[in-house]
Symmetry: C2
Subunit: 343 residues, 2 copies
DNA sequence: TTTCCTACTGCAAACGATTGCGGCGACGTT
DNA sequence: AACGTCGCCGCAATCGTTTGCAGTAGGAAA
């Protein structure tokens, strides 16, 4: 009524036929005369008829909508992922409904609830930092509800995940530092309940090991919040010890790296001469800071594309058989900039 | 069926009452015995009953969903806007469905179509760069469909818009440079077919005028692409003249400012001692570069909040009366950092 | 003329929830 | 004993669309 949108009934009334006929005529069903089809289509066109997707959803219990759950839209990485998701979804006639959790578990749960009551066809999720218990996902998965996890992998069996090779990215980054002659490499790590943080740490450790460098536990510092400020403080403290200082930092993401850089500059240390530094994720700003920050680039757009492709496949086979669990791992790329090149 | 979600009918059958009774019991309608209410609620709880939002949408022709149309998610500014929108919408029980146009008009139109057929309650739009003809919006507005335009204002009458005061932001920035003792202020402007670019240039000119400084046309240079590289080249050229050099730059956005800074450093000029610089938009990196860049911050999050607040109001009065056209202009904020402070 | 196709079209139920209206039993009142 | 009232609940329509089944008319075959 609000829009006075024409319905099938309107067309039927006007043409003195039944709604069934109109419905069938519009979809070129056999058993409708060409004459009727023509008239129906003409009128539909004239009235600017547009099928009511809500009624369709109700009828078919399928909404052609997928729900995306991410920690924060404003993270450059996630916005590129969204972009990829949106692209594929749109091309396949699906809508994207979006919820950000702000890294809160409670928000994650309530988002899932409301999306479910909207008869979402499937979920694409990168769960919050607070999420350590996955039963809310497990329940859905057991019912055969399609979910693809991206970027962050849950501690569950038989899930479909799209991630990047965090281990390799970290390994490459640290290895690069080693090749540049840095030997005392510290690691500003992420929260250890996130698999990605763990992987990056492993890559770091293995690269050191491979270079015959023994890791120092006091040079592996967790930055749970991942803010610039936090990293600034931690780095300042780390380098306030005047005896034995690291000569390089591998940060688990670029903001942390940026905070560290500020701290180093503030202490009068030169980058990359005194301290080399590599970040992670290739944020937009990373090439513009001084010196430009070396970083590991994650293919956000591709992650989005891949995830939604997989999800759409899962949605469309759900006759009765289930799908195989899958782990798609996309490659990272090391972008070497000035912050880590001293040779 | 997919989820085996319990419906009102299931509860009714189990309890040997009618669906009407269940519905009313769940909503604490009068005229239902406490006993029945108790039993219904208990069972609903046990079955994990969740109302089917799609059925509700159909019944009430209201979907509690708003559609957001933006050029690109990956622009930091837009992602902050989305964040603000999301926040308000979620708090009011609304969902956000998202479409990006990639600055294409055709995409904008088709997005609107599909969203409409999903019985969207209203639109929040920042239209594409290609959009010069607004009839597709006009049609909806004439039908009384709620639309709020943000950031970009359409050439239509009686619309509700939320924008920022670009003129004032530029004026403040340049005025700040003047107060810091800079007298020879150049402007790296944006493409002059965009309203925002023009406004910023006007603010620049008026601030100069007000300070009694005569603008020099050769110090107002357009950066049509707005890339860092472009700005680097332009700035290098501008400062290669050894006779009469500007002592400050007002850039139409931060990426351009960053490029200029790189060029200045490369020429051995000190910031802010030799050249002061102010950018626009407060990109994420602006506080992290060296020296931290003074900039004009646009309240993206607030824009999002305001826009969706307005939209929700419009959605909820639509009994029959229309709403007033409105132009909310949000203030920018000058963030003074080191790049422009020499006193 | 009767029978049987065939080509069209309509009826009605269904998806899940809401809601105006009416039914029905129990009780109080006169 | 008759009537009114009140508390509790169910019927059925509705939102827009789809779809299995049944119905009708016309022509062709017997």
């Amino acid at each position: 009524m609000k829009l006075g949108q024409a319905t099938i009934k309107d067309i039927a009334r006007e043409l003195n036929v039944s709604s069934s006929t109109v419905s069938r005529a519009l979809k070129d069903y056999p058993g409708i005369s060409d004459e009727t089809k023509r008239k129906v289509k003409e009128l539909a066109d004239k009235l600017n008829y547009r099928p009511n997707a809500v009624a369709l959803s109700l009828r078919k219990s399928k909404s052609f909508t997928i729900g995306v759950i991410i920690p924060e839209v404003v993270h450059f990485f996630f916005s590129t992922v969204i972009s990829g998701i949106e692209e594929v979804a749109f091309a396949n006639g699906y809508n994207v409904i979006l919820c950000q959790t702000n890294e809160k578990l409670s928000r994650e749960q309530s988002s899932i609830e409301t999306m479910l009551s909207n008869q979402i066809d499937g979920f694409l999720v990168s769960f919050s930092r607070e999420t350590t218990d996955f039963t809310h996902f497990k329940k859905l998965l057991d019912l055969g509800f399609p979910i693809v996890f991206f970027d962050r992998m849950p501690d569950l069996e038989n899930t479909v995940n799209v991630t990047v090779n965090d281990y390799q990215g970290a390994y490459d980054a640290v290895n690069h530092l080693v090749e540049q002659g840095y030997k005392k490499i510290a690691h500003l790590s992420g929260p250890q309940n996130l698999a990605i943080s763990k992987k990056r740490k492993e890559g770091y450790l293995d690269a050191l090991k491979n270079a015959g460098i023994k890791p120092r536990p006091d040079w592996i510092i967790e930055c749970p919040f991942g803010t610039e400020k936090e990293s600034y403080d931690i780095t300042s403290k780390l380098f306030s010890n005047s005896v034995d200082l690291p000569d390089a930092i591998f940060a688990h993401h670029d903001i942390v790296a940026a905070g560290a850089m500020m701290a180093l500059k503030n202490l009068g240390l030169r980058i990359p001469e005194d301290v080399g530094i590599v970040g992670y994720s290739n944020w937009q700003f990373s090439s513009m800071i001084d010196p430009p920050l070396s970083t590991v680039s994650q293919p956000g757009f591709k992650i989005g594309e891949q995830s939604s492709k997989l999800l759409l496949e899962m949605i469309n086979i759900k006759k009765d058989q289930s799908w195989d669990s899958k782990n798609i791992v996309l490659d990272t790329e090391l972008l070497v900039r000035k912050s880590s090149v001293r040779i």
